[in-house]
Symmetry: C2
Subunit: 522 residues, 2 copies
């Protein structure tokens, strides 16, 4: 997730008790050491052509001005790089000047970052210019990178010497405990591969908090957190990390109590001045799902009122006709897709969240609130059918637009009887006027298929979509992927895309909870 | 000095005793703290136009994408930079990406380093790209810079925030002790200014060794050392630093015992695989001058044989006709000037050096060597007159070429009676077919004028040449300067020129030893 909202003189509402609790739950980071498994030289500065290098050549391979060496660390990782540099020829009489480019994905190596002119900051591009004043040198780079490949380009040596990269290693970092998981052996190789990449994606986003992406934005976003938490429950089971993140969202909010779309955690904890209607409601969902896993009464007591505040804010956005007002719709993320009409989607997310809000009320024996929420849910459902259901076409239409997103969220919200819901889902992809943009919505698409018991289609979509990324060279699942437009970026340049992204990590959850056993209800 | 020579499989001759002594003499580095005295914004990326900034604006001045801020630290300095960065606007949601460019000279700020395509390594250009992952940030840059100006360009922020440079400071570094010197008050303001810049030049080159330039190459070159030592004797009087440098040259030499043109001192001491005929002879000169100052018998005993080795090597290059062979001439630096015929110059340098070698022999009571050297000197002088003196034109001609350099070195070598020498010097600049390229030769030009008692011309040249640099904005004296061609670079691009350079530091020496009192003999 990455979105830019700016509120002048934004002063978040802080809750010291919740933030203290979040600080106590800071996870231990686990480290390992990885070395390259191979290397190659790109023939031209920005070409995809390459000369393979056998790894044992490396300690003897000398790089002159303009030459490059690409190290392949074998898979996607997050961590800190150490380079041991030496030289051949005469004593170096000038510093070695290197450009380092870290790439999550082989395509990135051939992209020229100077061509990037998109709206996200180019400061996210993982590039460094390094001077080694003396050789031999051991260079420990202070910043953390997310990468599989490291391209080292010699910007300049001097005629007297060439550079040798004697050794490179990465100290990996993650709060995921791999001893909790075993590789899936389902008998279906394709599912096993997807499951493995799903866990790697989650693990590499599991740091001090659940980051949305370790390359970019490295931030705790609410919509991403919910999906990470679900996948974490079937894998690394770091329940405290979920709790910590929920407390961070509770601990710094909008001045009126709304949960922010994201929370900055460094140098201090501070709610982002970005509000997303659907993300705030995911706080309610994620809290209830955390309680399903833990039955942690302390957390329920601490965060129940905040969850209900989100629901109450959302319910205040309902108009007389039972649909959400323009502001709520405009504030809904749903998917990266400018043309998407979000009215039906936002309504669906709210109804969906009310299901979890009611469960929270039940957990607190807050019967009056429970009954109030049920009435609201019913009213919203009726309004949804009235406004969005097209009986003739047997699908949902949002202000004249048919979209997969509308079908998905109306189905997940249970606004219509199962047979009709199935009809809508059968048409969701073929009738949609706007494509699904991100794995975030693809996840909910699969969940909606499962909800109407279209299991075969769900499996097939999982394999086509997430498997398609693997076929295109993914080690971890990407922030964006469109098989028909592999270079797509919502940011005006794929060089800032994230290729290990939280909201794409859910296949392991879907496989474990829905495909390996017959699911009952979500 | 900067020159590139490459000898395959070069294994210098090391002398552990001398290197140990050199290590013991390592100077303490002195530190101070300097803050900017002003600032400005360059209007275009590479223009000379600017908007002045009042310093008190700085803590409130926010930099957006592409904007720059130039800090002026008031004068040239060498040291380490610390920046305190903050922001205005929303909480930063992306790293700050900065380009830092350090400039000794205001012109450098407007030069685009990407246009540089010369033969010296671009790794010398003092530029860094820095990511600040979190703001506020205190950035302590690990490398040492030589600069007066620091240009900070915001490569990218994000729409959410702008960068503020709250504070900048430089921890200066030098082994020069300013408490040893007082500002000159000669009654001649021009001379006083030149004297002050001369000392600043020397001080900023005085580090762990006498560096040729703190920007580039930061290395101990023999020809530069001699001039630095002379200026040091009339100013900072760090005699141990001269001794250390002589021991370093003695401690790592060419396999056949020759003194290298330069010595690398890090990570280990190692002679450069560059031999310069004239520079090796300057070891003899500098050693004798050091003894004039110190009468340090230990150093004489340790280095006498090495000095004589240089002389003996040089004398072996004399041909039957009494002139130097092609190799010796080719190996002579003299000046940056490709077209210069160096035959007469090399002969002059050798005869000049023999004067010092004879004094060394006298100090050791090595009478047979002294008498041998005197004979050699006489024979070389006679050959010089025979081959290079043109009685008709009353000047020296080197293989058909008239150059200032030839007049200078023949005069400094005392090959001809004073009246004729004066005639030669009177014609040196007007008759020369090749211009003087560097302050290194300008120094010897002034010394040759003084030797023929053309004191008025010497003072005038000192004021015109070194004063010309000050008028062009110098704080310290430059590696190259030609008033008619201010952008001249021997390296194919002025962006790698050094604007604080050892061989340009001598005006204080000339003023103190020759202009403030009537000189007797050099």
């Amino acid at each position: 997730m990455a979105l830019i909202s700016i509120i002048k003189d934004f002063h978040p509402l802080g809750n010291a008790k919740l933030l203290d609790r979040a600080a106590q739950l800071r996870p231990a980071l686990r480290h390992g050491v990885r070395e390259p498994i191979g290397g190659f030289k790109l023939k031209e500065r920005y070409s995809a052509e390459e000369d393979e290098i056998v790894l044992r050549q490396l300690p003897h391979l000398s790089l002159g001005k303009g030459e490059n060496l690409c190290l392949d660390f074998g898979t996607h990782m997050v961590g800190y790089i150490t380079l041991e540099l030496s030289y051949s020829g005469s004593h170096p009489d000038a510093p070695a000047y290197l450009k380092l480019k870290f790439a999550e994905n082989r395509m990135e190596l051939s992209e020229n970052s100077q061509d990037y002119n998109g709206w996200l900051s180019r400061s996210w591009i993982q590039e460094e210019y390094v001077h080694a004043d003396l050789l031999p040198a051991r260079i420990v780079l202070p910043r953390r990178y997310a990468f599989r490949y490291l391209k080292i380009t010699m910007m300049d040596t001097s005629p007297k010497y060439k550079l040798i990269v004697k050794h490179a290693e990465c100290m990996t970092e993650s709060s995921a405990d791999w001893s909790c998981v075993t590789a899936l052996d389902s008998g279906d190789h394709e599912l096993d591969r997807i499951h493995a990449a799903s866990l790697r994606t989650l693990a590499n986003c599991m740091q001090d908090v659940f980051e949305d992406g370790p390359k970019r934005d490295r931030r705790l976003w609410m919509g991403d957190l919910r999906l990470q938490a679900l996948t974490n429950y079937v894998s690394f089971k770091n329940l405290d990390l979920v709790k910590r993140c929920l407390y961070l969202f509770g601990g710094s909010r909008f001045p009126d109590g709304r949960v922010s779309a994201a929370v900055f955690t460094a140098p201090d904890v501070q709610a982002d001045d970005t509000f997303l209607f659907d993300y705030a409601l995911m706080f309610v969902v994620a809290l209830e799902e955390y309680l399903q896993e833990t039955d942690d009464q302390e957390t329920l007591d601490d965060l129940y009122d905040i969850a209900m505040q989100q629901v109450e804010y959302a319910l205040r956005q309902i108009q007389d006709d039972g649909t959400l007002n323009e502001q709520a719709v405009k504030d809904s993320f749903i998917d990266w897709c400018d043309e998407l009409d979000r009215s039906a989607c936002a309504q669906g997310v709210l109804i969906f969240a009310l299901r979890y809000a009611r469960r929270l009320a039940r957990r607190r024996n807050d019967w009056s609130q429970g009954s109030f929420l049920m009435q609201q849910q019913d009213a919203l459902r009726r309004a949804a059918v009235r406004h969005f259901w097209d009986e003739t076409r047997q699908l949902f239409v949002s202000n004249g637009q048919v979209s997969a997103a509308s079908q998905i969220w109306m189905v997940l919200a249970d606004v219509i009887e199962p047979e009709k819901a199935k009809k809508a889902m059968e048409q969701a992809l073929c009738a949609t006027e706007v494509p699904i943009g991100t794995p975030y919505l693809h996840h909910y698409y699969v969940m909606a298929l499962l909800r109407v018991r279209m299991r075969t289609e769900a499996v097939s979509h999982l394999k086509n979509y997430w498997g398609g990324m693997l076929d295109a060279g993914a080690d971890t699942f990407w922030e964006c992927w469109d098989g028909k437009d592999p270079g797509f970026s919502p940011y005006g340049g794929s060089v800032v895309n994230s290729y290990c992204h939280a909201w794409s990590c859910t296949p392991a959850y879907i496989i474990e909870r829905y495909l390996l056993k017959e699911a009952s209800d979500e």
